[in-house]
Amino acid sequence: MDLFVAALGFGLVSMSVIAIAAVGFTMQFGITNMINLAYGEVMISSAYLAYYLNRAGISIWAGMVAGALFGAVFSFLLNRILYAPFLRKGTSHLGMVIVSLAVSAMIANLLIPIVGYYPRSYQEDPGGLIRLGGIALTRDQLIVIGVAIVLMLAIHALLAYTRLGKAMRATAANPTLARNCGIPTQRVIDAVWLITGALCGLAGVVAALNSDSFAIANGAAFLITILAAAVLGGAGQPYGAMLGAVLIGLITELSAAAWSPQYKEVVAFGILVLVMILRPQGLLAKRGALAAAG
């Protein structure tokens, strides 16, 4: 029983990490219709950046901010230089998926000569254990949860109350109509990539912080978890991604406790498959998997 309560605690941390990542990912898809398979690699790149800063003595929290900035710029450039031109050219959804997969392979392999294959860890004292009921978490883990909550609230505030947020929602719903209503879609899209890129970079550092060690190979594994959360919640739906993250975080940690930690991604994948069979549009249905082709 204690094991499961402890797993619940890990689940809280897990869902926080996944939420930060999944919200960014799903917003990229929801507003620009881009399934950015290079997302995991951008995360890992930021994680490495924070690692080198950490080695140079800089605090991991400053590294997190640096990672966010790096992710923002990287993702913005990625869109401007690669994705947007292909989209303007009229490339199909499928073509864009291939492009983003090629990009992810390139990023991963450009990293390898620089960072090598061996797993790295941050030098960070996670702080003492703090007990809440039956759950015991370190100070760092609580900070991660706190960061996630703050970010989720910030995203909610952005979407619900700001002009930019409203413009984003309009562009997501109907880009042509939005443009015709005078919304500067180009600037909105730039803003989307900057903001979600920041989430991506930040998530990368946080995910690396949350694991014992990380290496380039983690990019793909983490992408699966993010995909599962995003699709479960309803692709393109930020609140859906939050919900999906909660569920995936909990279920994978509970299964790790009950079964084996090696199969966490397999469980996430299993959930993804179930969702695709039973309810492809996800829990908070909007546009999504069932949209007719063409």
């Binding site: 998926v97 392979a105 392999n109 450009l110 199969y263 998997a289 063409g294």
Partner: protein, 327 residues
Amino acid sequence: MNTYYAANLLVYAGIDIIACLALNLQFGVSGIVNFSFIVFQAVGAYAAAVLSMPPDTANGGFQHYIGGYSLTFPIPWIGGAVAGGLLAIPVGFVVLRKLRSDYQAIALLVLSVIANTVITNADKFLGGAAGIALVPPPLSERIDPNTESYQYLYVGITAVCVVLTLFLVNRIVNSPYGRSLRAMRERELAATAIGKNPVELKMTIFIVGGVIAGLSGAILVGFIQVWAPSVWLYPETIVLFAAIIVGGRGSNIGAILGALLVPVGFEEVTRFLNNDPAIANLGPPGLIPALQWVAIGLLIIGFLWFRPDGVHPEARRVFEGAPALED
């Protein structure tokens, strides 16, 4: 050029051609972005291996795998092909029915990663991370595999498989059925409006492609005599996609060309570079394979931008008695 090197080159070329013909059928002709293609080659290899090997208690019992029926050629190869087709059924059933196409691609990609993880961790099933070794070469009981004549033999049976595959694929692609597949690729919604059932078409081609992929895996495992998860990681599919895009998607000749330019071409260039110690030791270890992948990514993006139809584009079908082309 010694026989072993030549045989190596030819057998690999044959395997890559067969794989590319299958992927071209699925992706180039029918528009199915099968990002899990490598899994089907892998299942064929595993099947051929466990069919042809003795029970896992043999050879000192250091391996653990299911099966072990010591069957002789050609049964393991047929088994490999069948395994590829059988795997396509549940996978296609889950993925190819209600989802829009980019979701399908993602699901298949994820499957590829997960399959590798599961097989790596399931120690007793197919050898786990270490994989399976000491796979008996086909017909080794007739001809000593260590001789030159065996090399010729292997090239020969590979060539027969290539011809068979090309024959099969050609008949499918250059037929009214092939035309229906291409129409579905072009615009699935309009294809349904003229009576095409996309689910049936996709499932069929997924299975046929799976069979051919499985065969390619059987040929490969018989040649290298080992098989492990590290051989079939998900990026391997990306190499084949690059081959199809570069060679010319939709065209069988393009697929063959792509197979020779990309997987075979890269192999040979790498081997050539590695032969020069000055180059091989340049930079950190693993630089050359990493740069290979960067080059593959650039090839894909470059061709999709500048020449999406590839080096040898899909041929225009002109019918007998047509008026002269104006352009």
